[in-house]
Amino acid sequence: MAINIKEIEHIAELSRLELNAEEKTKFGAQLDSILNYVEQLNEVNTDNVEPTAQVSGLEDVWRNDSVKNWDREEVEDALSQGKLEGGQIKVKRVL
């Protein structure tokens, strides 16, 4: 299967990535060859095989849903790295 420029643009849009014209051509060809390579998984019969999502073997790990005081200095260090206004994180207009 070949990935055309339109599809690359669509994938880039979904990935929230700005790509230039050169990147679109280059990534198109590269994704094509990688996807062709992974196609070999279709040789494998996976009827009645459960997919594996995680391998820890753990289920339902709980901890108390309680508020812990985080070091004030750490909180300030974390928040001071973005744009703030009136103690709130500032974002661009959505609409």
Binding site: I11, L14, G57, L58, V75, D77
Partner: protein, 479 residues
């Protein structure tokens, strides 16, 4: 011998006897970094002031009679792990000015053990790669031959240990990122079982395989560090509750390996494999035989699907994990965009390098409507079959022995334009990652390259889940 060349074990004895101080040891490492790093480029940050202060504190504790395996031992940490108050970039432009507000769980534990953090090591951007050439801050060079890669993605951590810039280093291994560079640089690299070490504060890549581990000069040193960093952590729900072993004690107890059977999986000895590598792995097998193990050929028939499975699952999880980098709250923030969508796209387009973009798109594609079943779910099903292969093999043998990489370190630039060839680097290391098994690479001698260099190669041991003790014990006999 220069102090920076010491192992943890030897440095420990000298520190405890008062023959050396942590300050002297730390200064020796800092001097080695100053001298060698302009050529090797293993470090992205060196915290001289912090390191010397930590060393002075450790010296006071030693004087006061405090004991500890890592007390006063200098180390370097991969730069995708958070270190409070220090720049943490993941070798990406998107985090160029990012200062970690807190310590990762491993760094916290090492701090509590009073190990001395020297600085942060280079990696492939966000750990995406097998050569450290994908770093936004330039590649790391292999200390054995500067024209070659150190492997990756923990290439900086491996090169730093191999060139004695530190006594040990911390890395992360998602699909071979500790073992393959350890093989290329001729050192010991240990990837523990999935869930053995807390990942709180590790920049997430592939959450279903990401593991933090260690790079050291000897097997015993790896045991000493693992003992400190392993264990359950409430802040990482995937950590295992099982007791952490007394790994170094287990190693020192064993005089031989009688009663053990080691499997050689036929699928790991491909005809494309560099014949000189095969010779070294055979020698390693003979060493184990001399120590009393029985060798047995086993089959892991789904091995060849490891790479295609890995390169669906990994990009998919990356596309989800890296969605958090949006230019809001922290990281690169370009202000000229008109609206929020454009703002996201610009920050990510400018901030991420080519391999990150490639994986983001691959993963987004594999997870998108209409393709999810064909790619992601299919890969997860084949992953189950790969795991079953290991389960069946471990019914017949105690451990597996394989090459770590199909060849010694390649030249910088040789494979960078062909992402698929680079992905194939991981052929022997993805299996243990997909199955969550502990595995390590141990130096297995030198081989001749086409241009007449002698370069190290590694032997990989893979153990059943949570059998780090057995893994380290056998690895010791390969040294």
């Amino acid at each position: 011998m220069n102090l920076n060349e010491l192992t943890i074990k030897k440095a420990r004895a000298k520190l405890d006897s008062g023959e050396i101080t942590s300050r002297k040891l730390t200064e020796a490492c800092l001097a080695a970094i100053k001298k060698l790093d302009p050529k090797i480029h293993a470090c992205l940050l060196v915290d001289e002031v912090g390191a010397l202060a930590a060393a002075a504190q450790a010296d006071e504790k030693i004087k006061a009679g405090e004991k500890g395996d890592l007390l006063g031992i200098p180390y370097l940490c991969k730069d995708n792990i958070m270190t409070k108050g220090l720049r943490t970039t993941a070798a990406s432009k998107i985090l160029e000015n990012y200062t970690a507000p807190y310590d990762a769980a491993v760094v916290k534990k090492l701090k509590a053990a009073r190990a001395v953090l020297l600085g942060k090591t280079n990696l492939d951007e966000f750990a995406h790669g097998a050569s450290t050439e994908n770093s936004a801050y330039g590649p790391t060079h292999n200390p054995h031959d500067l024209s070659r890669v150190p492997g990756g993605s923990s290439g900086g951590s491996a090169a730093a240990v191999a060139s004695d810039m530190c006594i040990f280093s911390i890395g992360s291994d998602t699909g071979g990122s500790i073992r393959q560079p350890a093989s290329f640089c001729g050192i010991v690299g240990l990837k523990p079982s999935y869930g053995r070490v807390s990942r709180f504060g590790l920049l997430s890549m592939t959450s279903s395989t990401d593991v933090i581990g260690v790079l050291t000069k000897t097997v015993v040193d790896a045991a000493l560090v693992l003992k400190v960093i392993a264990g359950r952590d409430e802040l990482d729900a995937t950590t295992l509750p099982d007791t952490v072993g007394d790994y170094d004690q287990e190693i020192s107890k064993s005089e031989n390996l009688q009663g053990l059977t080691i499997g050689l999986p036929s699928e790991y000895f491909l005809k494309e494999l560099n014949p000189a590598v095969v010779v070294q792995i055979k020698k390693a097998a003979e060493k184990l035989q001399a120590a009393g193990v029985k060798l047995k050929t086993v089959s892991l028939p789904y091995t060849k699907y490891g790479i295609p499975v890995y390169y669906i699952i990994t990009p998919s999880e990356i596309s989800s994990n890296l969605a958090r980098f949006d230019g809001i709250g922290w990281g690169l923030s370009q202000d000229q965009a008109k609206n929020l969508q454009e703002f996201y796209k610009t920050n990510r387009g400018v901030g991420f390098g080519p391999e990150v973009k490639r994986r983001l798109m691959l993963g987004t594609y594999a997870l998108s409507a209409g393709y999810y079943d064909a790619y992601y779910k299919k890969a997860q099903a084949v992953r189950t079959l790969i795991i079953k292969d290991f389960v069946a093999a471990f019914k017949q043998v105690d451990l597996l022995l394989t090459p770590t990489a199909p060849h010694p370190a390649f030249k910088i630039g040789e494979q960078i334009n062909d992402p698929l060839t680079m992905y194939l680097e991981d052929v022997f290391v993805t299996g243990a990652s997909l199955a969550g098994l502990p595995a390590m690479s141990v130096p297995a001698g030198l081989v001749d390259t086409a241009d007449g260099q002698k370069m190290p190669v590694g032997a990989q041991l893979i153990a059943p889940r949570l059998e780090e003790g057995l893994l380290l014990k056998v690895a010791k006999f390969l040294e």
